[in-house]
């Protein structure tokens, strides 16, 4: 299969940013910054001054603002990957499901209820172009 067709299909999925090579490149330092929070001493420094800690990393200003605002959708847009970004919300003491809910149009209780009710249906969520 041709790589261009392969990648193009990924853009047809509603509400989803597939972590492609292009995103991995764009988000490289954002993800490395997030990964640095796995170390206790880095978490300390981060908590003591988020902006100062961020400024040690070669992130774009957009990326820095998205991190400071905990705007996860924007971070994904700017090349973040959720497994790396999870180090940020873990450091904030926020559970994975709650962090997920912030990326949707639901509150955390609404999101939790949706999951208990069987999760988001794939119907209408599979293809933008196809609408199915």
């Amino acid at each position: 299969m041709n790589i261009h067709e392969y990648l193009e299909e990924f853009e047809d999925i509603p509400g989803t940013r597939v972590y492609t090579a292009a995103r991995a490149r764009k988000g490289y330092h954002l993800n490395q910054f997030a990964m640095s929070l796995m170390k206790a001493e880095n978490r300390e420094r981060w908590k003591a001054g988020e902006r100062a800690y961020l400024d040690e990393w070669p992130l774009t200003e957009d990326q820095k603002l998205a991190v400071l605002a905990r705007d996860y959708n924007r971070m994904l847009e700017l090349g973040g990957n959720i497994y790396f970004l999870s180090k940020i919300f873990s450091t904030d003491g926020i559970p994975f499901a709650e962090a997920c809910s912030t990326m949707t149009d639901m509150t955390f209780p609404e999101y939790r209820q949706m999951m208990l009710d069987g999760g988001r249906s794939p119907d209408g969520n599979r293809s933008i172009k196809g609408g199915y």
């Binding site: 392969y6 989803t16 988000g27 490395q32 990957n81 959720i82 999870s86 994975f96 997920c100 999760g119």
Partner: protein, 281 residues
């Protein structure tokens, strides 16, 4: 020779590790999930595998963004549980089987799989949660483990076809190991889940069960599911299920299903597991 006596496919949701570590496995929320593993735990006690080839993925724990191996095989003597941001899980260290792992690694490279060999690494929930689900909370894990870490995070991840073929090559490699070993192979991750973006929370009971059906079938149709289908149908993280195909490929054409369980949800994820036995043709 080493005998691959069974294959297990299983989710590896981190929250299940938390439930085990905090003794919540029989509460209202987790009860139905853990009940599904009761059969399997008992079966594992009887089976007593010597080694498990544990196919999993690292979730930004051992590997940072700098290096992305498609297939990495752990050839070390032991592995510590990773600190994923809230301290390492209070589980035993994982003992490797360096003899067997190096044997497999060597055979795979001769067989034209472009493996990356790793000696030292920490292993995250992707590897330790399935151990907890199958073995509970022993002082020491009852078997040795060969970790096989697959990139299912950065696209392109390996195709289903390549994963299945890797499983077949692992089975060939096991056959030429000189020692008698009872080996299981586990494929972990999945089932449907999406942890990101406005579509977060997608689950697909129907598709997941069709996938389980395909794993039980006497054919290899499942290897041809394209990545885009996993993505559309099972959420952005459902792609982890390609790792189950390495397990399935190692079992040969025909299998017998011993156990199967499915539950929705565990946090953001559909939980499923299946136990398969290879049938000689």
């Amino acid at each position: 020779m080493a005998r691959i006596t069974a294959g297990v496919g299983s989710s590896h949701v981190p929250l299940l590790g938390v439930a085990v570590d905090q003794g919540k496995t029989r509460d209202e929320y987790f009860g139905p999930i853990f009940a599904g593993y009761d059969w399997t735990k008992k079966w594992e006690e009887e089976e007593k595998p010597d080694v498990v080839i544990l196919v999993y993925n690292d979730h930004a724990s051992a590997f940072d963004a700098n290096i992305i191996p498609t297939f990495a095989i752990g050839c070390g003597e032991r592995y510590k549980p990773a600190d994923e941001g809230w301290g390492p899980r209070p589980v035993p260290d994982v003992e490797g089987h360096a003899d067997f792992a190096w044997h497999i690694a060597q055979c795979l490279i001769l067989d034209e799989f472009d493996m990356t060999i790793i000696n030292e690494m920490d292993v995250d929930h992707g590897l330790t949660v399935p151990l907890s689900m199958m073995f509970g909370q022993p002082e020491k894990w009852p078997c040795k483990v060969v970790p096989l870490a697959v990139n299912v995070v950065t696209y392109p991840v390996p195709s289903g076809n390549r994963c299945w073929a890797l499983g077949e090559a692992i089975a060939r490699a096991a056959e030429s190991f000189p020692e008698d070993l009872n080996v299981q192979i586990w494929g972990t991750g999945g089932m449907s889940h999406q942890l990101q973006g406005p579509r977060a929370g997608l689950l697909n009971r129907e598709w997941d069960n069709r996938f389980l059906d395909m794993l039980e079938a006497d054919n290899d149709d499942v290897r041809h599911i394209p990545h885009i289908e996993y993505l559309r149908e099972t959420g952005s993280e459902g792609i982890e299920m390609v790792m189950w195909l390495i397990m399935r490929g190692a079992l040969g054409k025909k299998v017998k299903r011993l156990h199967r369980h499915y539950h929705i949800p565990c946090s953001n994820t559909a939980i499923g597991h299946i136990v398969l036995e290879p049938l000689s043709e």
